[in-house]
């Protein structure tokens, strides 16, 4: 392109692009401007409606633009104005020619890979110093063959665009320019070269509706250029083309040297001999495949065989860092503000949240619409790395799930953060959605993704949720550490209970939570084997939180049974630490999976002289962690503990004491006192064999008090206490 322009010496350059950007073109020559960048056009009233025109340094449009600016040649964009195209977007017309013209030509030439064919026939032919314009003429001829006159319906978006471009070319001719260079997709060449009547073009362009749009430059990345969806340019290997564009000669050698440097930096031993052999292999391979120069395919094959020892793992690194590349563009400060900032300002106004440099606290009641919207905004900004608000504990101390407290502080740097976040989207919502998706794809641990899923729910980003949940499912499937899974489950179940998820997402989330629970059931018993005291303590916490989470998953009987079976395994297996076995036994008892008799049997099995005292004390700690009321009510259990305690040998007692103290000091003072009273009174006197913990007869006076309270709670009229009391 540069060679062609230098040869042609145009006196004006017209480029396929939105004409509203003409005012911004001068910025392209700014010293702070570094591609990849994109022109961003958005509807002023609705920034969510936006379009991007990405440019890499090697994009022909960019090369032409810089040529014009460097040579003081007038340059303009001549595509249909974005003001019109936005209105027509809802027409759902297929963009572009409908067929891939290059693929069509490659197929005609007998090649199955269009990009490779293009490289061979067009890009690599430019290396010689012949006529730089020749390739353009050839392509124009080829396109004319593909688009014989009258082969397409008139009207439609493409026809309107071409009509507009023709009109601009005519205008340039009228302005006295003689050597006009038009930079556009090859597909349009025949349409622009042929000249239908002015009247027919005018008819096509008559009365086009328009909206108010604004444009600006935003920084872009190679990674986004390579995306085929969204606003990517669909260039699979921007890093490779950047390399070809930058390296004047010996492209393969330079490429291999760069690859070697990258691999060395990642601790792969790659010597210069490797580079030499890789270059030889790539060149021979190209010769064998009948290509003029090694392309990306040959270079990749050579790197894999010589430098990566056949492995695709280091190759993936090369693919990611070099073939795609992580180059990020720069945009000068003079570029107009990004729409994200406008959207934020609009939201701040409508939600009456002023950005203030002084710190202040904000209590939100999520039942109110405005407060809920404020909460969403703050959560979304947090996701976008714009930490305007940070979560705070409420001053009023209210802890309802509908309350949220924030500490707000707007620092000037946040404006820069907003500008940086502009790459993610044009509105706070869309930007937060893309950012969440990206985080999900790149986050490492299960915990991070779980936190992200919760953040998505809090920020109300339903569109990001499927991606995040998929990432979560993937991480959960591959995570071998039960502790991680157990940490993730409660948050998931919380999210499910929070009820903020819509329609299908709830089902997906539920499936995920249940799957996670099943994995925990499978992995927990082996993970609990042979833990030291510290590990057992941590695992006991997981056990409790998982139990609570599983209980909250309603309508999952099979899962509940499986969980009970897992707990039973834990409670009965000897190789598991006493703390965990005791905890599991208690959970089974609380859940009515075990009756008191079974619990007593287990306790008797454990609390005997055979069991090491420290182990038994751990068991008691685990068993009583849920509170000591059990001992108050079940004198049989208390008796067992008492018997065991008296049988602990003197030598072992000092070891056991701290554990027991820790256990009992956690109880309410009242409970402790009652237990002490029971022990002092002797544990075996009042107990009846069938109802442990209950007196043989009813204490009417005490029952009446409880009955009155129950009646008040139930709203029943205060019935006169009488003989019926005992029956009720």
């Amino acid at each position: 392109m540069a060679a062609a322009l230098a040869q042609y010496r145009p006196d004006t350059v017209l480029i396929e692009g939105p004409p509203e950007a003409d005012g911004l073109l001068a910025l392209a020559a700014h010293q702070d401007m570094g591609p990849p960048v994109a022109l961003l056009a958005y509807v002023v009233d609705n920034p969510a409606q936006a379009a991007f025109w990405p440019f890499a340094a090697f994009s022909p449009e960019w090369v032409a633009l810089r040529h014009a600016l460097d040579h003081d040649v007038p340059v303009r964009f001549i595509d249909l104005p974005a003001a019109h195209t936005f209105v027509h977007e809802h027409e759902e017309e297929p963009e572009g020619p409908g067929i891939d013209p290059i693929a069509e030509l490659a197929r005609t030439a007998g090649h199955d890979d269009p990009e490779q064919w293009w490289d061979d026939v067009v890009e690599h032919q430019l290396v010689g110093d012949g006529d730089a314009l020749a390739p353009f003429r050839t392509i124009a001829d080829a396109m004319a063959e593909l688009r014989p006159p009258g082969s397409e319906p008139s009207g439609g978006r493409e026809a309107r665009r071409e009509a507009w471009m023709r009109r601009q070319i005519r205008a340039a001719e009228r302005a006295g320019h003689r050597r006009i260079a038009v930079v556009c997709g090859a597909w349009h060449v025949p349409a622009l070269a042929g000249r239908p009547s002015v009247a027919s073009d005018d008819a096509l362009l008559k009365g086009l509706p328009k909206v108010k749009v604004e444009l600006t430059w935003v920084p872009w990345t190679h990674r986004r250029l390579s995306q085929h969806t969204g606003y990517g340019a669909g260039i699979a290997s921007p890093g490779w083309y950047q390399h070809l564009f930058e390296s004047a000669d010996r492209g393969t050698v330079r490429w291999m040297t760069k690859v070697a440097a990258l691999l060395r930096a990642e601790d792969h031993s790659v010597s210069s001999a490797h580079v030499i052999e890789a270059v030889r292999l790539a060149e021979t391979l190209a010769a064998m495949r009948g290509r003029p120069l090694p392309g990306l395919a040959e270079s990749t094959d050579a790197v894999r065989a010589v430098m990566c020892e056949g492995s695709d793992v280091p190759l993936a690194l090369v693919q990611d860092r070099m073939v795609v590349g992580d180059r990020m563009g720069r945009v000068p400060d003079e570029a107009p503000t990004v729409p994200l900032q406008r959207d934020l300002t609009r939201l701040q106004r409508s939600l009456r949240l002023k950005p203030e440099p002084a710190e202040r606290e904000l209590d939100l009641d999520l039942r109110k619409d405005t407060d809920a919207a404020r909460s969403r905004l703050l959560h979304r900004l947090t996701l976008l790395d714009v930490p305007w608000g940070s979560a705070a504990t409420s001053r009023t101390g209210s802890t309802g799930t509908f309350r949220e407290s924030w500490r707000l502080l707007w620092e000037p740097e946040l404006a820069i953060k907003v500008a940086e976040a502009g790459i993610w989207g044009t509105t706070v919502e869309s930007a937060a959605t893309s950012r969440a998706r990206d985080l999900a794809a790149h986050s490492g641990s299960l915990g991070e993704v779980t936190a992200l899923a919760e953040a998505c729910l809090l920020a109300d980003l339903p569109d990001a949720l499927p991606t995040v949940l998929q990432a979560l499912a993937d991480r959960a499937a591959l995570d071998a550490d039960v502790a991680h899974l157990a940490e993730a489950l409660p948050a998931l179940v919380r999210s499910l209970r929070y009820g903020d998820v819509r329609g299908t997402d709830a089902a997906a989330l539920r499936e995920l939570a249940e799957g996670l629970a099943v994995r925990i059931c499978i992995g927990l018993p082996p993970a609990c084997n042979s833990l030291d005291a510290e590990g057992a303590g941590a695992m006991a916490g997981h056990l409790g939180s998982t139990h609570a989470a599983v209980a909250l998953l309603t309508d999952a009987d099979e899962l509940h049974q499986r969980w009970s079976a897992t707990l039973r395994t834990l409670a009965e297996r000897d190789t598991i630490a006493g703390l965990l076995r005791g905890r599991a036994a208690r959970l089974l008892l609380d859940d009515n999976q075990w009756d008191a008799a079974e619990a007593a049997r287990q306790m008797r099995l454990t609390l005997n002289p055979v069991t090491p005292p420290a182990e038994a004390a751990g068991w008691i700690e685990g068993f009583l962690a849920g509170g000591g009321m059990l001992l108050v009510h079940d004198t049989r259990l208390l008796g067992l503990v008492d018997d065991w305690l008296t049988s602990v040998p003197d030598a072992a007692f000092p070891d056991v004491l701290p554990l027991l103290r820790r256990t009992f000091s956690g109880f309410d003072p009242g409970v402790r006192r009652t237990i002490a009273d029971r022990v002092r009174a002797g544990t075996d006197t009042p107990a009846t064999p069938d109802r442990p913990g209950f007196a043989p007869t009813l204490d009417r006076t005490r029952a009446a008090t409880a009955r009155r309270t129950a009646a008040v709670l139930l709203g029943i009229n205060h019935a006169p206490p009488g003989a019926r009391g005992s029956a009720e």
Binding site: M288, A305, E309, G310, A477, A480, G515, G523
Partner: protein, 375 residues
């Protein structure tokens, strides 16, 4: 003479079971036709041009109407890189799990490049240095003293002096010190004979193809010095489920005949299931690409899938009703997947519970596998 377990050859092997002819004999007609049609430049001492060698392996039709049968079914890229490596006189290392046709490819490459696939060193734990360098005819050594006549050249030495392609099978099974005797041969292209004060210099056209299994534990890793002399090509496992089911059915049929087991209908549901399980665990993702699963420590090669189905077939024939049922393959499958009793068992259970259980038509399979896993 050392003997080692020959890895199962690829299913594309010719039908002749016993006394199978060398590749250059079996496909002599194709090689001759290719040589006649081949007008591209040939590297020194090559029988064919690189393009013709690639065509020989990948198959194609020649201008004179000869149809070249495909010897290797798989990515074209793999063969192109392999042939080009040989053309740049770099040694070639073919890596892959058992059953990926490493030996097969190496034999045909040698046959097409040099017209001779017999210069072979079979690697075993007991391969001595003499197998790679040279040995002595001790009777003559004692009678005449050290001389060229008393020296017994190894296949590698012969390949060097004749400018042909030598093959080393199972390179990683050879002890490390013996492996390293290849370094001088590959880098200096010369083999010194200090006893005679002479050396054998490789003639143009000499090259070496080695094969190795990259998933086996307990092998002798190549030293980095030796590794550097090789270009490495990894032969992939069959790309699609259909391809692998086809290979397994065919091999099971062949093995079954020799064991006099009842024939299974090709592509039977159980074979398909076993292959699916193998592929999913190996790839770490379910066939529909929606759920990730953990991969066990074993290599889960196609060869192992074949043995699971064959042993299931034997169970069905001798203790069952002769029809291959889920119960017959379940225990074999468990044995193939669970190599490390702790970690792999978890992997297998998770897979059963999170993937197999939810498949409607896999209920009986799920039950059998659970039963097998619990005992």
């Amino acid at each position: 003479m050392s003997v080692s377990a020959v890895p199962p050859t690829d299913s594309a092997a010719p039908a002749e079971e016993a006394l199978r002819p060398h590749a250059e004999t079996a496909y002599a007609a194709e090689l001759a036709a290719l040589a006649a049609a081949d007008d591209r430049p040939r590297p020194a001492c090559w029988q064919l041009s690189p393009w013709a060698v690639a065509t020989y392996l990948l198959g194609g039709a020649l201008p004179d109407g000869t149809v070249v049968t495909p010897k290797y079914v798989g990515p074209r890229r793999i063969i192109e890189v392999a042939v080009t490596t040989l053309a740049t006189d770099r040694a070639l290392l073919l890596l892959g799990v058992p059953g990926t046709a490493k030996t097969w490819v190496s034999e045909h490459l040698a046959a097409a490049v040099s017209g001779d696939s017999t210069l072979l060193v079979q690697g075993t734990a007991g391969t001595p240095e003499e197998a790679i360098r040279y040995g002595w005819n001790y009777a003559r050594l004692l009678a005449e003293g050290p001389s060229r006549g008393a020296l017994v050249p190894s296949p590698v030495m012969r390949a060097m002096s004749e400018g042909r392609t030598a093959r080393v099978e199972e390179l990683t099974r050879i002890p490390a010190d013996v492996q390293d005797s290849l370094i001088t041969i590959l880098s200096e292209k010369t083999l010194p004979i200090p006893e005679l004060g002479e050396e054998v210099q490789a003639v143009r056209g000499f090259n070496l193809i080695a094969t190795a299994n990259d998933r086996d534990r307990g092998v002798n890793e190549l030293s980095s010095a030796l590794r550097r002399r090789f270009n490495t090509v990894v032969l992939p496992l069959p790309a699609s489920l259909e391809e692998e089911v086809d290979i397994v059915s065919r091999r099971v049929g062949e093995l079954g005949r020799s064991l006099e087991l009842p024939a299974v209908p090709s592509g039977s549901a159980e074979i398909r299931r076993v292959v699916t399980v193998f592929r999913e665990l190996r790839d770490g993702v379910t066939a529909d690409g929606r759920t990730k699963v953990k991969s066990p420590s074993g290599s889960l090669s196609t060869a192992e899938a074949i043995s699971v189905v064959t042993s299931g077939l034997a169970l069905a024939a001798h203790f069952g009703d002769g029809v291959l049922r889920p119960g017959d393959v379940a225990s074999g499958l468990l044995g193939a997947v669970v190599r490390d009793p702790a970690a792999d068992r978890l992997v297998w259970q998770e897979y059963l519970e999170s993937v197999v259980r939810d498949r409607d038509d896999w209920k009986d399979f799920y039950r059998s596998c659970r039963e097998a896993a619990e005992h």
